[in-house]
Symmetry: C2
Subunit: 80 residues, 2 copies
């Protein structure tokens, strides 16, 4: 079984309201000194067979078409 | 500036409806052979000062109290 991790994060120039909400909540919970929080998604994908360049390319295609919105998000695929 | 990544994933025994929805959509998009998809969250946290055991402990405390729900989610903190 091949296991991949896909990290999807908002592009740096895109406003990230979820991250901003966390950043705003931290001081109220007593956490000081936090400068920036960005929130994204993490997927764990299991594919039949061994990890090959082909299965990696397939997961990259999934990330591009279903797991991320390439207009506002960047993604990264790696073997788990 | 110290940068940390917090990965938050649903516990293995917890049903993950978002992951199941992705798993169900993949064959319709022409992706075969995917056995399992789990969806979680990924946070990037920037803190003033250098990365120290103290700042790592602070981020772990944040992950425990705000970024994850420890009843249904596991988290992992690491230096970015």
């Amino acid at each position: 079984m091949a296991r991949y991790v896909v990290d999807v994060m908002p592009k740096p120039e895109i406003l990230d309201p979820q991250g901003k909400a966390v950043l705003g909540a931290l001081p109220r919970l007593g956490f000081a000194g936090v400068v920036e929080v960005r929130q994204g998604k993490r997927f764990e994908v299991e594919i039949e067979g061994d990890a090959t360049p082909e299965s990696l390319a397939e997961v990259e295609q999934m990330a591009q078409t279903l797991l991320s919105n390439p207009v506002i998000e960047d993604f990264e695929v790696r073997t788990a």
